[in-house]
C-alpha cells in the first residue's frame, strides 16, 4: 500500500497544500507569483463582485439540487413500487446515461435547445410561428444541464432506502387510520431522508464547483465559481487569487459534507427509534 500512499501524497496532498499556500501570496507584476505574504486574495473573495458569483453559483446549484431531488425521489419511488424482478432493470437504465461522457451529455442539450433545435421544431409543429425562443445560453439551460447530468445519482441514492423500507410500517400506519398522504409524510419520507440527503449533497457539491456546464450551456460570459477559477489560471494569470477561490470552494464543500454527516447521524437515530417503536 505504500506506493499508492506515496502517489496520493505527492500528487494530491502536496499540490493541494501548494494551492493553499499560493493563496497567501501576491500576484507578480508580470503575472508570476510574488512571494510576499498577504491576505488580500481572501479579501477579494468576499468582495461584492466575486461574492456575488459565489451566491449565484450557490443559487444555481441549490435550484438544480431541489429539482433533481424532487424528480429523482419520484423516480426512485416509482421504481421501488414496480414488480420486484423489474426493479434492477429500471435501476440499470436509470443509471446508464450517467456512465456516458459528461461533455457529450451536456452537448446533447445544446442540440436540443439551440435556436433550430428539437424544442423549437416541436413548438413550430404545435403552431408557434414567432421568433425561436432563446433557451440556450441562459441560467435555465445551465440548471437543466446540471439536473440532467446528476439525476441518475439521486435516483440511485433515493432508491436504496426506499427498497429497504419495511412495507409493514406503511401498512401499520394505514391500519391506524392515517391517510396515504400522512403515511408518506410521517412514515416513508422520514425513513428515506438519508438517501435524499446523500443525493442532494452530491448534486450540490458537484454543481457549485462545475465548470463545463456553465461554460457550454451558459455561454461565453456566464460565470460560476469554477469558471472564475479557470479564468484566473488560464486567462487572467492571477494564480494566487485563483488559489484563494479554489480554497473557498473546498471550504464550502467541506461545510456541506459536515452538515450532511451531522444530519445523517441524527436521522439514523430517529429512524432507529421509529422502527424500534413500530416493532414494540
Amino acid at each position: 500500500m505504500a506506493p499508492a500512499l506515496v502517489w496520493l501524497t505527492a500528487l494530491m496532498v502536496v499540490p493541494c497544500a501548494l494551492v493553499l499556500a499560493l493563496a497567501f501570496f501576491r500576484r507578480g507584476i508580470y503575472g508570476g507569483i510574488d512571494y510576499t505574504f498577504t491576505l488580500e486574495n481572501f479579501g477579494l473573495v468576499v468582495d461584492p463582485l466575486y461574492a456575488g458569483i459565489f451566491l449565484k453559483s450557490a443559487r444555481i446549484a441549490g435550484t438544480a439540487t431541489i429539482i433533481a431531488v424532487v424528480i429523482g425521489y419520484a423516480a426512485a419511488y416509482a421504481i421501488s413500487a414496480a414488480p420486484r424482478r423489474l426493479q434492477p432493470v429500471f435501476l440499470f437504465f436509470a443509471v446508464l446515461p450517467f456512465w456516458s461522457n459528461y461533455l457529450i451529455r451536456t452537448y446533447a442539450w445544446i442540440v436540443l435547445l439551440n435556436r433550430e433545435g428539437l424544442v423549437t421544431q416541436l413548438l413550430r409543429w404545435l403552431g408557434y410561428t414567432g421568433e425561436p425562443p432563446s433557451m440556450l445560453y441562459t441560467e435555465g439551460a445551465v440548471i437543466a444541464g446540471l439536473v440532467y447530468n446528476y439525476l441518475p445519482f439521486v435516483i440511485l441514492a433515493c432508491y436504496a432506502p426506499l427498497s429497504r423500507l419495511n412495507p409493514e410500517l406503511a401498512e401499520a400506519s394505514r391500519d391506524l387510520g392515517a391517510s396515504a398522504a400522512t403515511t408518506f409524510r410521517r412514515v416513508i419520507l422520514p425513513l428515506t431522508v438519508p438517501g435524499i440527503a446523500a443525493g442532494a449533497v452530491f448534486v450540490f457539491v458537484l454543481s457549485i464547483g462545475n465548470f463545463v456546464t456553465p461554460a457550454l450551456l451558459g455561454g461565453g460570459r456566464f460565470q460560476m465559481i469554477g469558471n472564475l477559477v479557470y479564468d484566473q489560471f488560464l486567462t487572467a494569470n492571477d494564480w494566487p487569487f485563483g488559489a484563494a477561490l479554489a480554497m473557498a470552494l473546498i471550504a464550502i464543500m467541506l461545510l456541506v459534507l459536515m452538515a450532511q454527516a451531522m444530519f445523517a447521524d441524527r436521522a439514523a437515530g430517529r429512524a432507529a427509534e421509529a422502527t424500534g417503536g413500530a416493532d414494540g
Binding site: 506506493p3 500528487l11 501548494l18 451529455r105 433550430e116 477559477v229
Partner: protein, 264 residues
Amino acid sequence: MAERSLATRRTLRLVLGLVFAFLYIPIAVLVALSFNKGGLPTAWSGFSLKWYVSLAGNSAILSAGLNTLIVALVSTATATLLGTLLAIGVEMRRRHGKALEALIFAPMIIPDIVLAIALLSFFSMLNLTMGLHTIILAHVVFNLAFVCSVVRARLKSFDWSIVEASADLGASAFTTFRRVTLPVILPAVIAGALLAFTLSVDEFIIAFFTAGAGRASTTLPMQIYSMIRFGITPEINALATIVMAVSITALTLSQRLNRGIIGQ
C-alpha cells in the same frame, strides 16, 4: 408494499415514463442525428454513414483518440496495481485511522477544477514539461482511489484465515497472493480497472490543465470540447455516439462483474 389503487399505479407508471423520456430523449436525438445525411445539424434529411466515414479521415480526431487510449491504458494499469495493493493493505489491518480513510476518499470527491489547478501549479513549480505523461500521473490519482474502493468492497467479505492457512502450509507471501487472494478478488480488480479506464477516457478538466501547451497531447475529450465550443456539427454527433458506445460497454461489463461478486 401495500395494495395500491389503479390511479396510483397509473401515476407511478407515468412518472417512470416521463423520467426515462427525460433521460433518453437528448441522447437519442444526438445518436439519430449522427446518421443524418444532410449537413444541417438538427434537421433530418435521410440516413447516411458519411459522418462516421469523415471521422475516420480526420487526423486531429484520430491522434486525439490515440492519445486518449495511451493515457487510459497506462493510467489504468498503474492505478489497478497500486489501488489493489492499497485495498489489500488497508483491509488486512484491523484498525485504520480517519486520516487514511480521508486520504483514499478525497480523490473521489475533490472538485476536478481544484485538483486540475493544484497539479498545474505543482508541475509548473517543478519546471516539469507537461504532456501525456503528466496527464497519466494525474489520472492515476483518482483512478487508484476508485479501483481501491471497488476492491475493498470485495475484501469486506474475505476470509483472511485462508491467507494464514496458506502461509502455515509453507507458501511464500507472493504465492499466497497469486494462488489465494488474487483469484478471489480478480472480478473486483477487473471491474475496478474497467471503471478506471472509462473515467480516464472521459476525463476532461484535469487533462486540459495538465496537458501543457501545443496540440501534441490533446486527448479526445479536449478535442470534443473545442469542437463543441465551435458549434454543432454532425461529425461531433458521430464521435459522441462512438465514445458513448465505448464507455457504456466498458461500464456495463464492469457492472456485470460486480453483480457476479454480489451473487457469490
